[in-house]
């Protein structure tokens, strides 16, 4: 502690001017945060509150509306389109989260190994992250629609010779491929950052003991970067649950509504389907789901971190 410490509470005996300078909050600090607070409140909090409010109405997004209580929420429960959207989103998000993290972790460990062209390779693996998902998605859409079937035909495989994006049961796989291709890049950087925190002495000791590469990963690397694994899983799941661009580019929710995610459904129903109030109720439920999942995931994975 230094002797020149700003005094927090003014003492009664201190001369008024000194108190003003030392203890009062400088005006500047107030002016630094007030505009940001106002703007954040107006453009974030107000829309959220409006969203919650209109979720209890039958508003189509324009004109007159009436309060309908919990009717929207009750209707959500028995709406097959909503149920399918949640099932699709969950299936997509879980598979994409796991694949992205497994691939990213493996590539990060490899990129952190004793390799040549390290800088250049790291640079290449980050490229997908600087490209717009929507635009890359159009390229992938073409590949899945025309190129893969052509290759499948050449190979004489009946299954591969039709576009998987046109198959309601398989279209989601194409979206997962795009998501993993694009999302791995960012997670690699996070994992590489984590790997830098592992002290190299640990590996030296382990290699003296003759531990295999896999054993070194299991016993040293993974426990040391478990915190990064936790945060990556949470971030990836949160991101993939809100999947939107991928789907708009590749299937627009189709065939039919087979690949309609919750985000896409809210957008379509809310903006184009006149279901403003109804889709807002859906969005409120969606927000609760995301918060609950994030908290749950953090707790489970952190417990594992401690016991690992």
């Amino acid at each position: 502690m230094t002797s020149v410490q700003p005094v927090d509470r003014p003492t009664d005996s201190a001369p008024p001017r000194r108190t003003l300078v030392a203890a009062r909050l400088p005006r500047a600090f107030v002016w630094m945060v007030v505009p940001a607070f106002v703007l954040f409140f107006v453009f974030h909090t107000v829309p959220v509150l409006q969203g919650v409010f209109f979720s209890f109405t039958d508003s189509p997004g324009y004109g007159a509306w009436e309060a309908v209580g919990l009717a929207n929420y009750v209707a959500l429960l028995s709406d097959p389109r909503v149920r399918d959207a949640y099932l699709f989103t969950a299936q997509f998000a879980v598979v994409a989260t796991i694949l992205t993290n497994v691939v990213a972790l493996a590539l990060a460990v490899a990129l952190n190994g004793k390799i040549r062209f390290k800088t250049a390779l790291r640079g290449v693996y980050f490229i997908p992250n600087v490209l717009a998902i929507l635009v890359v998605g159009y390229v992938f859409q073409y590949l899945f629609t025309f190129s893969l079937p052509a290759i499948g035909e050449a190979l004489g495989s009946a299954r591969l010779s039709s576009s998987i994006l046109a198959d309601p049961d398989l279209a989601w796989i194409g979206i997962v491929v795009l998501a993993v291709w694009q999302g791995t890049a960012f997670n690699i950087v996070l994992y590489l950052a984590g790997l830098q925190t592992v002290p190299p002495e640990l590996y030296e000791a382990a290699s003296l003991d003759g531990a295999s590469a896999w054993r070194r990963f299991r016993s040293i690397t993974f426990p040391m970067i478990a915190a990064f694994f936790t945060i990556n899983m949470v971030l990836a799941l949160k991101g993939y649950l809100q999947v939107f661009d991928h789907i708009m580019a590749m299937t627009a929710g189709g065939p039919g509504t087979a690949t309609e995610s919750v985000g896409v459904l809210i957008y379509k129903g809310g903006f184009q389907g006149g279901e403003y109030g109804y889709q807002l109720a859906n969005a409120v439920v969606f927000m609760v789901v995301i918060v609950v999942l994030a908290v749950f995931q953090l707790r489970v994975l952190q417990r594992r971190e401690v016991s690992a």
Partner: protein
């Protein structure tokens, strides 16, 4: 600790693509590490990573060759080189999608969002970090950060109406919203970074009679340079590539950003894929070039954001 420069490694370039010249400083560390018995370059792993990097290259290669073809060359899988190059695809895409306008819109929105974010978000974080002991500022911190858990779908319907009413359904609105919505994450990382800056510097400036404003702009803001780089890069990637926010906010087609323009024109391309791919490439190339030039900077910037 620069080790003696080692001659070119054995078997360099054996079937591997040439590396871009490494930045000085990095090879020396790698070479000194190669001194020990375990320190040999793992060529097998390097080869595997180079091979896997092809998965990144394939869609990009495909986009390039397709953009150079005539429509009647689009048969089969389409991975072959064009038999006859049609550069006019780019000219067609340029005029069809009104590329200069949407590229300019994207540039204006991105630069505006980055500049405004850096100037304001760091300031807000500074005021919060230095007043964390006051309940209001602590509350403000959690208020901003908790928004990280609020998914965009809940506010996208109301905020679209709000911006339309306020006349912000254009580039100005986008800049404002990227700045405001970025607060949650940026305040989080800036506060952590500012906490590591010793207060003595500011106290010295205050002693010299500097106001809080002067202290921030002349003392603190320059010290934030590494974090400013991180936040600037992340904001740039987000604002340039984002599709959802322009989709729901922008009503005038003349204000469309590149991803939105790609979406709008997707239906018009359907008959002419080479022109479509030319326009995809033109949408991706600007940021890709920036990335290639500033590659190491970008990756280290993103890494810094990850560690905090």
């Amino acid at each position: 600790m620069t080790g003696p420069s080692v001659a070119a490694p054995p078997r360099a370039g054996s079937g591997l693509p040439p590396d871009r010249p490494d930045v000085p400083g990095v090879p020396s560390r790698r070479r000194s590490r190669r001194a020990g018995p375990e320190g040999r370059v793992n060529w097998w792993l390097t080869g595997l990573l180079v091979f896997l990097a092809l998965t990144i290259a394939v869609p990009l290669y495909f986009a390039v060759v397709t953009a150079l073809k005539t429509p009647d060359q689009l048969t089969g899988a389409g991975f072959g080189l064009p038999t006859e190059v049609r550069w006019a695809n780019f000219a067609d895409a340029w005029t069809l999608t009104d590329f200069p306008r949407s590229a300019l819109n994207s540039a204006v929105v991105t630069v505006g969002a980055v500049v405004l974010t850096l100037l304001t978000n760091s300031m807000v974080a500074y005021a919060i970090a230095r007043n964390m002991h006051r309940r209001v500022f602590k509350g403000l911190f959690f208020y901003f950060v908790s928004a990280l858990f609020v998914p965009f779908p809940i506010l996208m319907l109301p905020v679209a109406k709000e911006t339309a009413i306020l006349g912000l359904d254009n580039q100005v609105g986008l800049i404002l919203l990227y700045t405001v919505y970025g607060l949650s994450f940026n305040v989080f990382v800036f506060v952590a970074y500012i906490n590591s800056i010793p207060r003595e510097l500011e106290e010295a400036a205050t002693m010299d009679g500097a106001s809080t404003w002067t202290t921030f702009w002349r003392v603190i803001f320059p010290l934030l340079a590494p974090m400013n780089a991180t936040v600037g890069i992340l904001t740039c990637l987000w604002a340039w590539n984002d599709f959802l926010l322009p989709l729901v906010i922008v009503s005038d087609p003349r204000a469309a950003t590149l991803p939105l323009q790609q979406y709008v024109f997707q239906s018009q391309f359907s008959t002419n894929y080479p022109v479509a791919f030319a326009s995809y490439l033109m949408a991706m190339v600007p940021l890709l070039l920036v990335y290639l030039v500033a590659q190491r900077w970008v990756i280290s910037g993103v890494t810094r954001g990850a560690i905090k």
